[in-house]
């Protein structure tokens, strides 16, 4: 049941999720958000996790980041289970308040480097490099409250990348942005990922975003969710191509699956 097409990435596997079950205790037992999640992320791959709201995709990302412990199953990074949060799995969150308000833009990027053993000057230099990469060089001395939402998210991206993570985790980072800024940042993220060669695990509920950014897309069902399908979207071409439209239609179909029908599937699978 867990063997789905493309479930195993061909290149060297960096992150492996095996029958990960996620949930939290409630007054009457355990609420299961993710029934079972199995997929791999290859090194230098851009893997998008998509699903309807409430399907536990953010929880899944938090589990990879080490904030949430799975009820069952395993999460391995480079073949080793790493359950505690750490900079090797740097996270970019959706919320604009993820920057430290009392530090400047430069400070927000340099401080985590200082925490991780860089000297003062090295940290500042490295922070500047990554601010240039995200086109924020001119705003280094500004405080977060002086920035737009899009700029704040770019600072968060620079901060995460400067830590040189094994994998960059992004939890709907553009979800609170207006459409135009979102498109611009998607294009910028593609450029940055290409330049740095970072591995990306990106959670979203937008099909367009998944198709613009992803190499492969993992589609989740509504909760208690499981992997519906894993599709390769590398060779689609631009939004004008028939392949793109067909894939978009297919993903729309998958995400609009009738909930009752799906529950039956899950029961049958047990």
């Amino acid at each position: 049941m867990d063997r789905l097409p493309f479930a195993r990435a061909s290149a060297s596997t960096l992150l492996r999720l095996d029958r990960v079950r996620l949930g939290y205790p409630t007054t009457d037992g355990v609420h299961v958000a993710v029934e079972s999640a199995t997929f791999d992320v290859a090194a230098r791959e851009k893997l998008i996790v998509i699903g309807p709201s409430g399907c536990g995709k953010s929880t899944l990302l938090r589990a990879v980041a080490g904030f949430v412990e799975p009820l069952a199953g395993s999460i391995d990074l480079d073949g080793a289970a790493s359950l505690r949060p750490g900079p090797d799995r740097a996270v970019v969150f959706q919320e604009f308040d993820q920057l430290l308000p009392w530090r400047t833009v430069l400070g927000n990027v340099a401080y985590p480097l200082r925490v991780n053993g860089y000297g003062r000057r090295e940290a500042a230099e490295r922070a500047r490099t990554f601010l240039e990469l995200t086109h924020l060089g001119g705003s280094a001395e500004r405080y977060p409250y002086e920035l737009s939402g899009g700029m704040k998210q770019r600072v968060a991206i620079a901060r995460a990348l400067a830590l040189e993570p094994r994998i960059l985790l992004m939890d709907e980072p553009f979800g609170s942005l207006d459409a135009i800024t979102r498109q611009r940042l998607q294009a910028e993220l593609n450029r940055i990922v290409a330049e740095t060669g970072v591995t990306l695990l990106f959670v979203t509920h937008s099909i367009e975003e998944a198709l613009v950014l992803g190499d492969r897309v993992v589609v989740f069902s509504p909760p208690p969710s499981r992997v519906l399908e894993i599709v390769d979207v590398r060779e689609l071409g631009g939004p004008a191509t028939p392949e793109y439209s067909a894939m978009r239609g297919r993903l729309r179909g998958l995400l609009a699956v009738d909930r009752e029908e799906l529950m039956d599937d899950v029961r049958a699978a047990r």
Binding site: L100, W102, P112, P144
Partner: protein, 275 residues
Amino acid sequence: MSALPASAAPPARLPLGWARLPAWLRKGTLLVLLFGVWEAYVSLSHINHLLFASPWQTLHAFGAGWADGSLAGPTWTTLRILLEAFGVGLGVALGFTVLAALSTLGTDLLELLTSIFNPLPGVVVLPLAMLWFGIDTGAILFTVAFATVWPIAINLSMGFRTVSPTIVAVGRNIGLSRLRVVTDVLIPAALPHAVTGLKTAWAFGWRTIIASELVFGVAGSKGGLGNYINNARLYFLTPRIFAGLVTIALLGVVFESVFGLAERITVVRWGMKHT
């Protein structure tokens, strides 16, 4: 509709050009005028000088008091006790806040105690304090510390509770230890509330210590500003009463500006609090 109704336009003002003057000049002029009215009242009404001092007498008493140390001593005493009591209050408040952060029981206890004690004017515990500590500095210290604990505790714990969970997650994500999440993320993030608490507590403490010293009334070498004023009343040295009041008012202004400055170079500069 974005256009404002006509009635919302600023009312017509006298064309004096007053509003165009700089603020310090406007307020300075008003202050001089007030002193003028005061002086005029004292010299024209033939009021008994034992009851009401003129600005000049007050200024003279103020200058003389600071020159011979008879005002400086009490001022220093008051400030020292206030600072000590503030330190004690801060320590106790921190204890409560940590308890509240660690357990629901602690939170409940703090909420209950603050809802009982915070509305009380600090001086009400003075009679008890006098019973327990005698008519001594200890009684004042206790009373003032009591007045400062609650505003600090209530604001600090509010500050910690309202820290964004996202930046705490960021702190752990970048590899901070539990302790450093507290020192490097939680404490600075709670600073706007903390400063508010300290400011309120200092103001409460300041009012409470002057009131407590006034109640004491007995003269002593260790007396503070309240004693100074009360003694002046006892000997009908009315200009000294006024000089004491002026000192208290001036100190109040100084404290306000110190806290204002502290806020401007921290939480206001970081956009965490708006003036």
